[in-house]
Symmetry: C2
Subunit: 736 residues, 2 copies
């Protein structure tokens, strides 16, 4: 009986168990959770981020750089095309490539010197004999610098022309510099020599022309770039990172970004082009950059009175204004400086190389990471240090994708931009062509151009919303050679500020300029952007930038010997930038903090009140509406932050995180006003637009106050008030 009972019981249990199994697995619940549920609520994977950090390989970055810098790769040259092919090869690699990669060409207006007839700068006496001729190329210390593809130093977009006149020294070529000079002598018919810095390249000539100056020479003073050092026998490259005497900074002498002939339109074959003669943002008179060795030979012979202390540089002579012209005691006395420029404009095809990793959950949300590919010469630091980092990031991520181990929540887009050196052209044409799609869908744009200026510390700039994610990432990455000091801890020692919310924190700069390819994204499209690099210990040098910048000395040799031996700073940047990228791409809730935007607006407001309120009030203009707007933004941000904290997004409807993310994604868009700055090409962001005033505040207001144009100041106060109130409203889900 016991047996029977046991059998009975066993059979009963078995039946029960089978039933449970059938019930659990066999019957589809009318409302069983669909398979996509867990995928939708997946958040960033910290283990994966650690894996990523571990796999970023400094030696691979070094090899990327070596490959990228084999030949000069100025935009649209054969060397540039070789890098296009290299990028495509890498991004199409079957084991480490992306989902897709392709090129996009634009037909853009560039400017080049004449290979057969170099531009010349000479001193000619009254009978026309040449007493002195500036070097028309940089001295070769390595074979690379003798490559026939090394472009002669020139001022891109400077006009061709042949001018001659008495030389004057005009400091940095600012309007105030020419005014100072003009107060003591007539500039009519003169050639001005100016040093880099203080004013934009093109402005040095644009500012000069109204004073009657007929030509401009530009050089880099050793004071500004070499901490005063000048000798290539033991001081400058190849003995150090400093600029050799014949080194010349090339550059674009055009103010506005993008293809100059197709403003606001992508430069395709059939696109309308404005006539070249209508360009107003380029030098109206011939201009040519020269090395400091030549500059010294000219400046130290100048006559006239001594220039002010602030104009003096490192040459062992007094910098005089010029008589105009050379001193009576000089072997150049009575001689002119003659400038022959043979630059010419050309329409050329320039390629962006694009690559994509498709997002799994939100394929229509884009995180864009980019850097330009073109250089002036070999461009080891500018831009290949960034490209080498980008390629290492895509190698690690591409490998994971190809192995089926990972796919981002959102789509990752990588851009290798063309023709940045001529004025951010590739990225701008891309932004113009894809404007509607990008502005609707882009979460963030991350730019890493020169990844390592120097190996002291991280440098970051960006929208206040991304400050926090940069901090998070930089706390997880250690500095080169340390197992314990984080990038964050190191950074805060070099650059910090006091935040009302957090106390002492590293300083993330504002994106108020157009120094690299982020310009079109942040200023034109209002896309939340950030820019990362490794940079100097400012207590060690006052060099305005790394000394080989835009010269023939910016080679692999230079980078690996003087900028980042071992490429560990490159590795650190790749780890930090990749970490930020993964958080932007994979986080369920975008890692954007809108309250940090409120803090910036409050700082802007405080600066504006300090600097302008008294004057504005005296002229009948009230700042109260702006104060109210900033207050409303703070309240809206606090409220959204509370909502987020009270949420359990992984378990709420997938639309809830999408809604909040949309609010965060579109926040910077709300600051755009396409009509706010009619005279500033491509600037629409009323917080970050460039301004001429030195006050770190709302640029439209500051500029108007500086001009004492009270109507304009009032108008800009209203513009920024409306933008901030509007942005505050976008932080709330409801209508009102």
């Amino acid at each position: 009986m016991l047996k029977k009972v046991l059998l009975f019981a066993f059979a009963g249990f078995a039946a029960l168990a089978v039933g449970i199994l059938i019930g659990h697995f066999g019957i589809g619940k009318g409302s069983s959770a669909p398979s996509w549920m867990s995928e939708l609520s997946r958040d960033v994977d910290e283990t994966f981020i650690q894996e990523f950090i571990a796999e970023v390989d400094n030696m691979k970055i070094q090899e990327n750089l070596r490959e990228l810098t084999r030949v000069p790769h100025m935009a649209t040259t054969a060397g540039d095309e070789a890098t296009v092919q290299y990028m495509l090869k890498r991004w199409r690699d079957k084991d480490t490539g992306l989902d897709a990669a392709w090129r996009e060409d634009y037909r853009i207006y560039l400017s080049f010197p004449d290979k057969d007839t170099p531009n010349t700068v000479s001193v000619v006496n009254t009978s026309g004999s040449v007493l002195y001729a500036a070097q028309d190329k940089e001295k070769a210390y390595l074979l690379k610098q003798d490559d026939p593809e090394v472009v002669q130093p020139y001022a891109a977009y400077g006009p061709a022309g042949h001018v001659e006149g008495k030389l004057v020294y005009a400091n940095q070529g600012k309007v105030s510099d020419y005014e100072t000079l003009n107060a003591t002598l007539s500039l009519n018919g003169t050639i001005a020599i100016v040093r880099y810095g203080g004013a934009g390249r093109a402005d040095k000539a644009i500012n000069a022309a109204p004073f009657g100056v007929v030509g401009v020479l530009v050089y880099t003073d050793p004071y500004d770039i070499n901490d005063g050092l000048m000798s290539d026998e033991n001081e400058t490259y190849p003995h150090s990172w400093y600029l050799p005497p014949s080194g010349v900074e090339r550059g674009s002498y055009k103010n506005d970004f993008g293809d100059p002939l197709t403003p606001y339109l992508a430069a395709k074959n059939g696109t309308y082009r404005i006539p070249v003669e209508d360009l107003t943002d380029v030098p109206p008179i011939p201009i040519q950059p020269i090395g400091f060795e030549d500059a010294r030979a000219l400046i130290c012979e100048l006559g006239g009175s001594a220039a002010p202390a602030g104009w003096q540089g490192s040459f062992p002579c007094t910098y005089n204004f010029g008589g105009p012209g050379f001193a009576g005691g000089s072997h150049f006395r009575d001689s002119d400086v003659k400038l022959d420029v043979y630059n010419r404009g050309e329409l050329r095809d320039s390629a962006n190389v694009m690559g994509v990793i498709r997002g799994s959950v939100e394929p229509d949300r884009y995180v864009i990471y980019g850097n330009h590919r073109d250089s002036w010469v070999h461009g080891a630091i500018d831009p290949s240090s960034g490209t080498a980092v980008m390629l290492e990031i895509t190698r690690v991520l591409g490998q994971k994708v190809k192995a089926g181990q990972w796919r981002p929540r959102r789509t990752l887009i990588f851009g290798s931009w063309g023709a940045e050196e001529f004025g951010l052209i590739g990225s701008t044409e891309y932004a113009e062509e894809y404007a509607s799609k990008l502005s609707q869908r882009t979460v963030a744009y991350m730019n890493v151009d020169i990844s390592v200026f120097a190996n002291a510390t991280l440098r970051a700039s960006g929208s206040p919303t991304v400050q926090n994610v940069i901090f998070t990432a930089s706390k997880q990455v250690n500095i080169p050679g340390s197992d314990s000091v984080s990038v964050y801890d190191n950074w805060i020692r070099y650059s910090n500020r006091t935040s009302t919310a957090y106390g002492n924190i590293p300083n993330v700069g504002y994106m108020t300029g157009a120094g690299s390819d982020y310009a079109s994204f942040v200023h034109y499209l209002g896309i939340t952007s950030l820019d990362l690099s490794y940079t100097y210990d400012r207590s060690k040098t006052r060099a305005r930038i790394y000394p080989a910048y835009h010269t023939a000395y910016d080679t692999f040799d230079y980078a690996s010997r003087y900028i980042d031996p071992g490429f560990t700073s490159h590795q650190t940047v790749a780890r930090t930038a990749g970490n930020v990228l993964l958080r932007l791409a994979d986080s369920l809730l975008l890692p954007f903090n809108c309250s940090d935007y409120a803090e910036t607006l409050e700082q802007y407001l405080a600066a504006a009140v300090d600097a302008f309120e008294a004057q504005l009030q005296a002229n009948g203009v009230s700042m109260e509406p702006l104060k109210e707007a900033v207050k409303s933004f703070r309240m809206a941000a606090t409220s959204l932050d509370q909502d987020i904290r009270a949420s359990d997004l992984a378990n709420e409807t997938p639309l809830r995180s999408r809604m909040i993310n949309d609010q965060l994604m579109l926040l910077d868009r709300a600051f755009l006003d396409p009509l706010a700055f009619p005279n500033k090409y491509g600037y629409r962001h009323v917080i970050w637009a460039s301004g001429s005033s030195g006050v770190p505040t709302f640029p439209g207001v500051a500029d108007a106050v500086e001009k004492e144009d009270w109507a304009q100041a009032h108008k800009h106060l209203s513009i920024v008030t409306q933008a901030i109130s509007g942005a505050a409203r976008t932080l709330a889900e409801t209508h009102r």
Copy 2:
């Protein structure tokens, strides 16, 4: 044994059953479907739509209208404030109101006549005696027309001034009319009388001033409004819908929309205002509208040669040009016309009344329904016929919400706009203030201003994407008095076209003008918009609009006797508009058809090729890029349509429908170019912007070709090509 076996078997089955039950219900699946799943995939409820249609009550609309038209309610008057309070009361009703309702005030610049010193128009002889004085108010047939709050007919924004001169007849006041006149006589120092139509109100004066004309009179010719009828003894109101002899159309004589002093800025208290003297879109010379009785007394006395046939109207005399001045045989001979205008501008507070029903699933997606509230006098048809309909729609829906029976998927926003009659001011200030939020979140804007012009047929205009939802709704609603003829079937008989996709269908007009409050939504914000009304049988009348338009005769009496006795056409509009509204608010997939946009673009292209290609080619401008762009749009639309058809949105991830809906919602946004039309205030939509050319095609291109400005034509071709290619790209989910 059998019993035991049975018992055993039974126990076994029971255990199995219990097991199944436990397994099915007792064990939480790691991933059981959350409660919000079915809510997220809920689609539009056809039963609810039928309920809505059944509950729309014509008698309630009649009562709404009676209430709304008790007193004149010109913008910012006490009568206007009474309607503000009425709207708030209705929308805050505890049983039939909305979730929330509130007012939003703007401080705007309006223009009024002087109550104490009416504007006058008179004929004065050489000794200064008044031979004739035009009526300064309309004749009262009802007490209502004698209400002291009936504003004197005037030209809002016309300047004050006192001018006198010989009269000339200038037809419609177009530039070509003044040119014709000017070819036969000197216009210097003359007063021109012109009829409504052909040119905008302000343009009649703006066009005149350069010819030396010093003042303008405007009237409505019985030919244009009354099918020639003129006598109030048996022909016009109160005997019919026709305009009585003393009736005068008031209106805004300002071209641009929005508050004139705060372009692109919401007119708040502290907002920057441009100086009044900087306004360029208003009459530069005094101008005054008069009734046709007075116009006849003047025109029929004119001397000079006979005007062309096209200039003749219904008066029983030949319309002469004027000598200038009156005929030698006239009792007015040698006399001047004298015009004394006392209008003045004032800053006034005007209210929008806003109401909201919060969306359940996508609260951050807005469907906006609006109409203005202000009238010129009692405004029974314009705008209260629309407001009465809106209130009936909100009554039915509000009741469902308050009873907990329904809540829309998306948020519904209702706007009762202020100061439309002065130039769409309330809606424009709202669009400017909320621009960022509205452009990020608004699915569609629906406008029903005058809901019933006449009771013949539906009239609709809108973005091509909404054609289909209007058709769906109009097929479900029957025309007044019929159980079988749908609004759609009736409509197609009155107005139709041949579609490449559908064959013969009703004609949905383009939104190329700024005739009502949709202007800021479609032109400035690029929000998909539509406008609905009931209108004329054009075979029965050539009246350019219903004859009491903007006069003191537009009363409840007029509406209920001559426009829509029984209010069944109002009911039909409410049913149709409400049906569209519910589909926009509740559909899982937005009822937008992007392929219908492709058809419109193809039509535009064909028209442009027909009209312009030969000329453009002859001037070196190719249309090929535009053709490619339109082709790419068609392909993208076809592809999205296929994706949608292949989808099972109710069972796919909620993000999938949100992604597709975002693409559809933002499609019109992709056609915005804020810099395309620098001289057209508020126009940014490159497809729908107003154009001066008669060709139904891309306005920027057409206008440039008309001026034979080939560079400008090329530029606009590039602008529209880029916009269309960009829009095509937004239809794809992936990046490339």
